[in-house]
Amino acid sequence: MAAYVVRRLLWLPVLLILISLVTFALGIYGPGDPVQVLMGLHTRPEIVDQVRKEYGFDQPFVIQYLNYVSNALRGNFGYSVVKFPGQSVSDLLAKRFPVTFQLNLVALAWSLPLGIALGIFSALKRKSWFDVFIRALVILGISLPVIGLQPVLTFAMARKHEFGTFSIGPFLPVGGWKGMFAPEVILPAFILGLGVLAVFTRQTRAAMIEVMTSDFIRTARAKGLKEWMVVGRHALRNALIPLVTIIGFTIAGLFAGSFIVEQFYGIPGVGSLAFDALTSREYYIIMAFTLIAATVYVLINLLIDILYAFVDPRIRYQ
């Protein structure tokens, strides 16, 4: 097992080099550059060129890339040019990464267990009105775009609703960030978690329905086990195996989702940073963001492969 983990980790640098090459090339050969954004379209070309030279953006691709790598290896991931002039990329990320991490954590914390629970009940009460209701909710959860949901929620939660002399609300703050335990987290974490909830409900339901028809469930019943033992001990353990697979995709999806949600709710996380960086073509930030995302992705997948061995005894890594 340890050897397997080490071997998997050795691939990480190779992967990072490939990803950084592609990202860097896209940043440099793509239209526009941060200096252009900084100076605007009406500055005289000579001045733009001069500023470019100061930042080293006039160098050929290979030189720029090697400079970047050698700096990065020493912990220097470059500086912001446009939005946060002078701030180092590593400082920016260090400040913002924990925010995104906490937001995603809250989103997962409510949606993952609830999704699994709803999936189990839906599977056990198959074809009942409860099951039909849950399945309708799942379809809604998967297909509702954040862009449509966000204004509706804002309207419902942030406004004072007046009914003649009687009024209720506002219920929740709809922006800002005061840590993962402040009420500001509720709306963005709700929106972010909705997709996860839907996916996990659906997958758990499908996995449970399949497992419940297995021969070994019949064996468990023939042994006279209580129903909760049949479901909890014999069925659920097996249904978890396919769920482990999609946890990886889900977490990756959450990061993509926080791009938009952080933007909507003014949350100072990596998502909104990356959004700003993209619009102002600050490719040092984009580079760092991409590399971190890749690293996180690789680590999560490794974690999931390790998790597999625990959930499914038939899998042992040599």
Partner: protein, 343 residues
């Protein structure tokens, strides 16, 4: 022996499907005494497994339903018990061993867990005590290094070993009745012999009654006291073991025996297959269900389904023409009078 353990009366099981009602079991009645071994023989879809799953109340309802029948076990009708009362009997007084040991054990739980959970539940054993008993059980079914193997998972065992684990699991609470649903079908022949030997020995030692479901008359020959032959949800013939082989009186039983290869045959005789297919269980015929495939059929068979009729000592056959079967069966079985001489 002598006391009735299980008395099944007029048991019917149906399944409601999109294509109509499937009549899987059509009024089956039989009795099994304490310590007796009953062989339940028939081809796929003959209702042998479904009838036993109905006895265990393991049929999913819906789509299944039990329109009539009584299953009297030790004086109480199992079909009238509450789900909770039935649960306490399952695995405790009546245990079941299933066909495919590859899929019938839970892949993510250790063998130890799967054996001890029933012991803890039904017999109220502590973890330690249940573990000791599990080791005994594994030794009883000849699993080497039983102690160490308790912590292994099913995939670490071979097919034959898994079936022995299943049997150990079935026997764990010392049931009065063990229902074995084709326990050797998925195994190769040498392993089959090992399993039947183990079951024979355990039956001698523990004295429980056994219902052994199979489509293979060869397996049952050395094992059963009595044999029920099933065809499309009916018991078509029932007789003591030897009588059934020496004096089969239903065309279907004769057909089954005729399709078994014989090693003692001098000439190379061709096997006689049973032509055709069993009837559609959704649209059951009015007459005898075996009519289409029968070489003894008459007009009466088309009009009326024969009930089980007494044709000898403890021997019943559901065939109007059993006398004709008696006279003409030898040509199907390729046997001479020497073969039928009483042993």
């Amino acid at each position: 022996m002598g006391n009735t353990l299980l008395d099944v009366r007029n048991l019917r099981t149906e399944f409601v499907t999109q294509d109509g009602v499937v009549h899987a079991v059509n009024g089956v009645s039989f009795v099994i005494e304490e310590g007796e071994t009953l062989g339940l023989v028939g081809e796929s879809g003959s209702g042998k497994s479904v009838s036993m799953l109905t006895v265990m109340r393991l049929i999913p309802i819906p789509p299944g339903r039990i329109p009539s029948g009584e299953v009297i076990f030790q004086g109480q009708d199992l079909l009238k018990l509450s789900a909770e009362e039935m649960r306490q009997i399952r695995g405790n007084k009546i245990a079941m061993v299933f066909q495919d040991p590859m899929t019938s054990l839970n892949p993510v739980l250790t063998i130890g867990t799967q054996i001890t959970e029933a012991l803890e539940l039904h017999l109220g054993m502590t973890k330690d005590k249940a573990r000791k008993r599990a080791v005994e059980l594994l030794k009883m079914v000849n699993i080497p290094e039983a102690e160490r193997r308790l912590d292994d998972y099913p995939h670490q065992f071979s097919g034959g070993m898994r079936q022995r684990v299943m049997i150990a699991m079935g026997l764990s609470c010392s049931p009065q009745l063990l229902i074995a649903d084709e326990p050797t079908t998925a195994l190769d022949v040498t392993i089959q012999a090992q399993i039947t030997d183990i079951v024979k020995r355990l039956k001698r030692e523990l004295g429980m009654a056994i219902i052994w479901i199979t489509h293979d008359l060869g397996v049952i020959a050395g094992l059963a006291d009595r044999i029920n032959v099933m065809y499309s949800g009916f018991i078509v013939e029932t007789a003591p073991n030897r009588e059934m082989f020496a004096n089969p009186l239903h065309p279907y039983t004769v057909g089954l025996l005729g399709s078994i290869p014989r090693l003692d045959e001098g000439k190379r005789e061709r096997l006689t297959p049973i032509e055709g297919l069993p009837p559609d269980l959704v649209n059951m015929p009015v007459g005898c269900p075996f009519y289409d495939r029968c070489s003894f059929r008459t007009q009466k068979c088309l009009e009326e389904n024969p009930p089980l009729m007494s044709v000898g000592v403890k021997h019943w056959s559901a065939c109007w023409n059993y006398e004709a079967v008696r006279e003409r069966r030898d040509e199907i079985l390729h046997r001479t009078t020497r073969d039928v001489a009483p042993a």
